[in-house]
């Protein structure tokens, strides 16, 4: 059970963060289809950062001395770097969509093509293979929280809360949750958020009040990129052992689905992401799942083909969308380039 919850969080948290990234862009009026590409780029840059910093030996002393605090700081720096890179990458979309009033769907698709191409190109040149790994060690030994850090021996257990939320987790996951909450509050409870959202609903009225719609849309897109980049790096950190291979297996598009599913609202997005995380987790590990700890592998015994489990999140999305699409409310002015002179 603790394993189930932990793994669900591992999938769900980056998912909800990237979905929120999509919300930021769309609420300001820009369709951001490039979430997948930005995730790939952020993941790569984060791994690159970790790799180079390890190569330069900056945190090696901390690792040897088991200075876990410093290592978590290292991890946090990498996350921030990935976020910054995601923000910069999204400027390409912002420029095309806002200044050049280009078709935002095409612009997003272009970035989705550009990111894996660039990333794989450089990975090959740097590492002569298709995956970029950490320079030394692995993510678990460097960044994971373990019960040993809190003085528990190998055979001691931490209790339910402990083994679920403290043992074998990455602090990165909790950082993401924090960022999600903070950014949701920013979007919905602050004046900045109010103005940002007004740019997606009625840009002309906003402009007449002195709001700089162009700046706001840039802000929305750049924040979107930062969150997606962060989500991308945390995704590869926690599920791929901090290695980048130019692919996030459709996670960015799944985040889009979660965003539409959650009707552009943070709380619903959270729920949807948890649902997806749960199913992805079950699909990956159902044969070893012992739900109530009684030694019975219930799901394995049902003998359903693995692929059905893998399909479940996508099928469920379609089913739920079929029932909820009629009341879905996208921001009114999204996708329409802001043209001040239009009637």
């Amino acid at each position: 059970m603790p394993f189930l919850i932990r793994q669900t969080l591992v999938y769900a948290v980056p998912l909800m963060l990237v979905a929120l990234a999509g919300v930021f862009a769309e609420r300001s009026g820009i369709i951001n289809l490039a979430l997948e590409g930005i995730m790939i780029f952020g993941a790569f840059m984060g791994v690159l950062f970790v790799r180079f910093v390890q190569q330069w030996g900056w945190f090696q002393a901390a690792y040897d001395a088991k200075n876990y605090l410093a290592l978590q700081g290292f991890c946090t720096l990498a996350i921030l770097f990935a976020a910054a890179c995601g923000a910069v990458f999204s400027l390409l979309l912002a420029f095309a969509a806002i200044n050049l009033k280009a078709d935002q769907t095409i612009g997003g698709t272009a970035l989705n093509l550009l990111a894996p191409a660039l990333v794989l190109f450089f990975i090959r040149i740097l590492a002569n293979q298709n995956t970029l790994n950490m320079y030394t060690g692995d993510a678990a030994s460097w960044f994971m929280l373990k019960k040993a850090m809190f003085g528990y021996g190998r055979t001691q257990q931490m209790g339910f809360l402990g083994s679920t939320f403290v043992d074998k987790v990455y602090v990165a996951t909790y950082i993401c949750i924090l960022v999600f909450v903070v950014m949701s509050v920013v979007l919905y409870k602050t004046r900045f958020g109010l103005r940002l959202r007004s740019c997606g609903e009625n840009p002309q009225a906003s402009a007449s009040l002195g709001i700089n719609v162009i700046k706001m849309r840039y802000a929305g897109t750049v924040l979107s990129g930062a969150l997606a980049g962060m989500g991308g790096f945390v995704y590869v950190l926690t599920t791929a052992n901090c290695s980048a291979n130019g692919d996030v297996a459709g996670f960015g598009f799944l985040a889009l689905a979660v965003m539409i599913f959650g009707n552009w609202k943070p709380l619903n997005i959270c729920g949807a992401a948890l649902l997806f995380g749960l199913f992805k987790c079950i699909a990956a590990s159902y044969s070893t799942l012992d739900i109530n700890g009684d030694g019975v592998y219930m799901l394995k015994n049902l003998n359903i083909n693995t692929n059905i489990y893998r399909m479940l999140p996508y099928v469920i999305t379609l089913v739920v969308l079929a029932f909820t699409s009629k009341s879905s409310r996208a921001p009114k002015a999204e996708g329409i380039p802001y043209d001040p002179g239009k009637r």
Binding site: S198, Q204, S208, G210, G341
Partner: protein
């Protein structure tokens, strides 16, 4: 300090490949109510947007704000200018109060200031805690005005606000504007009706084809002169309407009901009327009145929960749109739903009859037939341009005429026209009205759906006013007034139940 709060000279602005403004000039004094008069397509809204600082002109010779040379559109220009674009100035999902919050620093006195202003200007019953999307058009306009006052704007730019007001509302509003003007605020209000300018403004600048024609003091002129300045000719542009005795019933509509979304209030309910040969029936109402839903239901584009439709005796309640067209209905949708913007114009012109045997042969389009049809249509109705170029490059007046040409040319038994002259200038409107009246003379039946009360008066043999999805009145155009029609459209009542009085009047 200058007596003028806004001055711009020789403004030029191009959009969509055309020069919308070529030589527009304006000088607005402080404390006056200044009108900007212009026909459809003259450039009023563009000029207002430039004055509001929302977009920059492509060129102008002078731009002064309070006597200081200031760059139009810059922060210094925009400070203190409030823009009220009819009823579109709010974010629909926010309440009135939340819309206020958009304008500046959040402070605790905002509510108090708003309440105080409401008291001062007699806007007490304007709702502030209701989402803007649920307010009426007039209320939204009032909230937008209040928003500008809360943020201490000294210049108020009102774009095309009279269109949505009844006579009583215009009077009350004018009293409010005069109070504001006396306090030193500058008011610039745009519109297309000389009579409104005469009644409610001090001075008026007339715009024609993007150029300023003249600025006059309304005390020294009359509506007819303004009309002449606005259109450039002294033609009366009154359509010739002959006396015609209507024939048999062509369209019979009984008890139509279209359900609302999610089982809420029906969009139209219990609508019944008839249109006879040789007569024009006008179905009119404000946004949400349901008249356009009626048109769509008649064309088979809306599901009917109840009701019956008969065309020339034949029941068409369940017929497909295409079959209805084949049975004799010609449909002229509103401009935004009529043309294919990026396709060649000929594609748009043949949209309503591409399935005709003249235009296609077992699924293959006869290109030559289509082109010659388009060419003939454009020549007969004097639409300039090339039928191969995309429809979006045609100026709006020509687009409207193309839509009318397409609908009228075939002389079907029934024409249903939706907002046929919205945004048209006097001449184009007259031409389209002549086409419609021509159908009437040929003893065809016409149903016109419109918001424009003037159009109703010009065309209708009978008038049905809709409000809230129901027909609230059937009127004889000879016996009713524009005021009565407007009132019925807005409130559903023939007279105001409660007089609206400001505190000053009491």
């Amino acid at each position: 300090m200058s007596e003028y709060s806004l001055e711009m000279a020789q403004v030029r602005k191009r959009a969509d490949g055309q020069w919308i403004l070529e030589d527009a000039s304006l000088q607005v004094r402080k404390g006056e109510i200044h009108g900007l008069l212009g026909d459809g397509g003259a450039g009023k809204t563009m000029l207002m947007q430039i004055l509001a600082g929302l977009c920059r002109p492509d060129g102008c010779v002078t731009a002064k704000r309070n006597g200081q040379i200031t760059s139009p559109g810059s922060g210094a220009w925009r400070k203190g200018i409030g823009w009220i674009p009819a009823d579109r100035g709010l974010v629909d999902g926010y309440t009135g109060y939340e819309n206020f919050l958009l304008g500046g620093r959040m402070d605790k006195t905002l509510r108090q200031r708003a309440a105080e202003l409401q008291r001062r200007y007699g806007l007490m019953d304007v709702p502030l805690d209701v989402p803007a999307g649920r307010m009426s058009a007039y209320e939204r306009m009032q909230v937008t005005l209040l928003k500008c006052l809360v943020w201490q704007c000294d210049v108020l730019l009102l774009d095309d606000v009279w269109r949505m007001m009844t006579c009583q509302q215009k009077e009350a509003f004018s009293a409010l504007l005069q109070t504001l003007a006396r306090e030193g605020k500058t008011i610039l209000i745009s519109g297309g009706e000389p009579r409104d300018m005469m009644a409610w403004t001090d001075r008026c600048t007339v715009l024609r084809d993007g150029k300023t024609v003249k600025t006059v003091s309304t005390a020294l002129t009359d509506a007819a002169s303004l009309e002449e300045l606005m259109t450039g000719t002294d033609e009366a542009w009154t359509p010739d309407k002959l006396e015609i005795a209507p024939g048999s019933v062509v369209l019979e509509v009984r008890d139509l009901r279209v359900p609302g979304p999610d089982g809420r209030k029906p969009l139209i309910n219990g609508v019944s009327f008839e249109v006879r040969a040789g007569e024009i029936v006008c179905l009119t109402g404000n946004d949400g009145g349901g008249q356009e839903i009626c048109a769509e239901a008649l064309m088979g584009l809306r599901p009917l929960a109840r009701g019956r439709i008969r065309l020339g005796g034949k029941i068409i309640t369940r017929a497909s749109t295409r079959d209805r067209m084949r049975s004799g209905i010609s449909y002229m949708p509103a401009e935004e739903n009529g043309l294919l913007p990026d396709a060649p114009l000929s594609d748009s012109l043949v949209l309503h009859r591409y399935w005709d045997l003249a235009m296609q042969d077992s699924g293959v389009i006869r290109k030559r037939a289509v082109r010659s049809y388009a060419a003939d249509l454009m020549e007969d109705y004097e639409i300039p341009g090339d039928s191969d170029s995309p429809a979006r490059f045609l100026p709006r007046q020509d687009r409207l005429r193309a839509l009318a040409a397409r609908a009228v040319e075939r002389e079907r038994e029934l024409l249903i026209a939706v907002r046929p002259t919205e945004g048209a200038d006097r001449q184009t409107a007259w031409e389209i009205h002549q086409d419609i009246l021509g159908l009437r003379e040929s003893r065809k039946a016409v149903l016109v759906i419109t918001r424009d009360v003037e159009e109703v008066k010009a065309l209708a043999d009978r008038i049905f006013v809709m409000n809230g999805g129901e027909i609230v009145a059937e009127l004889d155009p000879a016996l009713t007034t524009e005021e009565e029609i407007g009132l019925l459209m807005t409130t559903g009542l023939r007279q105001e139940k409660y007089g609206r009085m400001t505190e000053e009047d009491e």
